[in-house]
Subunit: 500 residues, 2 copies
């Protein structure tokens, strides 16, 4: 039986959980449903809610409650719960309110203007707003650093990926800088004779209605175990996984000439969704019951998208639904090749499994040095061009739109997020290696298109763990070792070069 | 320039407005979109929000702010604004928190059990829960009465219809008790030869898909001036008008064999929606900028549904859309007669324009005497049967399901609401009489199906007035006199007996 101060803290955090529920659903509505004329009122309402949540974190007495709770008799999981509450509270209250407001304002303005500036390739206009965002993010990192003793950029990573640091990322990405560009070229050479045809009849483009694509999407979600009693599929311009664990809202976007992106996007978001839907019930409403980190979250979506979704047996299961609902005479070889084709390009979100990490390494190097003050905003385009040439052999000179202005993340100061994507891909490869080693039948079942033993492993080892353990402990308990990027390298060689 | 205390009050009420925005959108989502598994978490989140709003009303200092603002130099509309803020504040803070919670709990339990009990015609089971709801509502009325000096039942009416009293309602409904039963019989005799055919080809039932019905619904909304940049049409089990003035969400329900109810339901909700969408912009976010009362709100929906929607010229405009999208060979006579047919029945929500007020009078008489303590819960079924026989010549003996258990209103203690429906019908008739007298061309335009001059009149005289004036002043300014039920009587005689 936990003591009264621990109890008061859990009640306070459950209050925050309920308010965040409103935030999630109303934001989902804004992205999927709201007519544009409602936007100003919606923004005001969301901003009022943010203030309310901020006040709940800052309520008088919490400092004392945390101190007193520390002295109460807590069992191990309550200690873990207290640790996570403290972490959220510190993150939420560490910055002066003035800085939070200034950053939010500068971020909104920069992001809003960016939507147009990107379209017009207007780097000069963008850089002007962006410098303010960078100044405030550096200020934020400096304050967080002075309180936590971490390096400034590390405090921003920590927000998304606790315990991850610049030093560890350098160790993870360093070797990849060496092997990845060569691997990309080898795979391209191996694939040079592949013919990739459009998906319509006789290799022509077809026209695929939203309803038909959605019908296949729902079948896929069902196959991947999505719980429709606790979630939905809808449409938005930028696909995402939102809502709350009790009601997970995933979205997609249908392109009439190419259904392959919506189908794979749905698999990706279903990975996020199953993690959310299967978080530990007994810790619902408390930080310790939430997802471990953004890297682990991406590991689940990328496990679904890359480890499962690009597996021939899984595509073989999906193909008949595609043939039936989308009236396509696509064969399995074409279907599989479409998803395995490696082709360096400008745009991160369009990148294949092999070139994607190059986009991330580049962004990581730039944002790391930008926050540390090693480079300035004006240095970015040249550095971008240089690294694109180095990793992918393409140039973005004077092409800001498809270069350093392509992503939304930096526009509102979300520095430290990008590494999560590739960390996720690495964790996913490591999980797959571990589970097939622990239970060799898992791989055999997958060869038959049966993913149930795999998702059961994920449920037990990842989803049901919530935030009870640190990331390193979670990964060690599941796989026997902490993050080891070698599994990802092996996975790529195996899949793309048949190299064991 | 308003003083600092008036200013502080407006900021506080704007805060409440933003929080209520969240409440509206999230409740809309719950009724239209949410999978059922999300319900528990949603209820918790909404309950947390209710507490937050309650705390905002009860913030320390508001009593002083109201006192000090009263002494500040305010212009007339600021005085009106202050009056409405005070009214909302008093309504929200008058009751002890314990009673609010107890009533909310008893109401939820009674309503939840009712859904099943109604189905099983289980009056005994229902009465048990319902007695607790009545006890708490009487307690609520008593406390409100002791503070305001009004009669207990009047304090409940006042919640929905400020300044309306039992005494005035008795004066309004008293004469109608005399003339309505006779009118119903006369109209029925007049209509006895009418043949009402199903809507399909050659008088057979058709099957009308949701998409086709929605297509006609959207055309109708457009014709009635709905602003789609600030609102939407969706589906829910119980149709309603929700959302916020900046983003009004109306809903309907499609029946596959009969499109007439969804079409007229959409017209009704569009009336509510246009009122909300056209409330005064300069008072947005403050109580004085909101709709005047539930009676006036219903007057707008019923104006659209009854005055306009049942007008032959309007139906003539709609008919081609019906013929086109719903592949019906319906003619205008059949279409019109379907909506004009008068037929006493058990169910209020299925009632026609002429019998509807009988259902309301009956409920009014019962709830008035129930709250005053003249009757008890156990007396209701017999009284219901007696009044149904008196007004509509049908008996509900032992039929609780289609009798006193048919409505949701009482189950959670919403006593005082029912009169709003018939007050709305009366106001609507009075508005129509006034505008056609002030601008005779309005009636002529309507004969051509042009409703624009009518909605402009409503915009100027009703929608744009918000809560600036009391209901009596609003109605006097628009029509030259306060509520006069004779216009409604005249309207019914004219439409159903061609009697001028």
């Amino acid at each position: 039986m936990a003591g009264p101060f621990y109890q008061k803290l859990t009640e306070q955090f459950q209050r925050i959980y309920h308010l965040q529920h409103l935030q999630s659903i109303v934001s989902w509505d804004q992205a999927t449903t709201m007519p544009s004329g409602g936007n100003q009122a919606r923004s005001n309402a969301l901003s009022e809610l943010a203030v309310t949540i901020h006040q709940t974190y800052n309520q008088n007495g919490l400092t004392e409650w945390f101190e007193r709770a520390e002295d109460e008799s807590l069992d191990m999981s309550e200690h873990q719960s207290l640790r996570e509450m403290r972490r959220r509270w510190q993150l939420a209250t560490m910055l002066p309110t003035e800085l939070v407001k200034a950053k939010s304002l500068a971020g909104s303005q920069c992001e809003y203007a960016w939507r147009d500036q990107r379209h017009h390739n207007d780097w000069t206009g963008f850089a002007k707003n962006f410098k303010e965002v960078v100044t405030l993010s550096r200020e934020e990192a400096k304050i967080r650093s002075s309180i936590t003793g971490m390096l400034p950029y590390d405090t921003l990573i920590d927000f998304y990926e606790p315990e991850m640091t610049q030093q560890r990322l350098d160790q993870v990405f360093g070797p990849m800088q060496q092997w990845l560009p060569e691997l990309i070229q080898t795979v391209q050479a191996k694939q040079q004779d592949w013919q990739i045809l459009p998906y319509g009849h006789n290799g022509h483009y077809g026209h695929y209605g939203d309803d038909a694509q959605k019908a296949v999407g729902l079948k896929i979600m069902d196959y991947f175990g999505f719980d429709f009693n606790h979630g939905r599929l809808d449409v938005s311009t930028h696909p995402f996984c939102g809502g709350v664990p009790e009601d997970v809202r995933i979205t997609t976007r249908y392109e009439s000439e190419d259904f392959s992106r919506s189908l794979m996007g749905i698999i990706h978001e279903t990975g996020h969704a199953r993690y959310e839907q299967n978080l530990p019930q007994q810790w619902r409403g408390l930080p310790v019951g939430e997802a471990r980190s953004m890297g682990i979250h991406e590991s689940q979506s990328l496990f679904f998208e890359m480890q499962l979704g690009r597996h021939q047996a899984v595509l073989q299961t999906i193909l008949p639904w595609v043939q039936q609902h989308l009236e396509s005479d696509l064969n399995i070889t074409q279907f599989h090749r479409h998803y395995l084709q490696v082709k360096p390009g400008y745009i991160r979100v369009d990148a294949d499994e092999v070139t994607y990490p190059a986009h991330i390494m580049l962004r990581y190097q730039i944002e790391r040095d930008l926050i540390s003050g090693v480079i300035e905003v004006d240095d970015i385009p040249e550095l971008w061009d240089e690294l694109m040439k180095k990793y992918l052999h393409i140039s973005t000179k004077d092409n800001y739109r498809d270069g350093c202005m392509q992503d939304i993340h930096w526009t509102d100061g979300s520095f430290g997020y990008f590494p999560s994507y590739t960390l996720g891909a690495m964790y996913a490869a490591q999980f797959y290696a571990a589970m097939t080693q622990q239970f060799p039948t898992i791989a055999a079942e997958l060869e038959q298109g049966n993913i149930q033993p795999i998702t059961e492993w994920l449920r037990t080892h990842i989803w049901q763990q919530g935030c009870l353990h640190t990331t390193d402990k979670l990964v060690s308990a599941a796989t026997g070792e902490i993050l080891n990027p070698e599994y990802f390298h092996q996975h790529l060689r195996q899949r793309y070069l048949n190299d064991n």
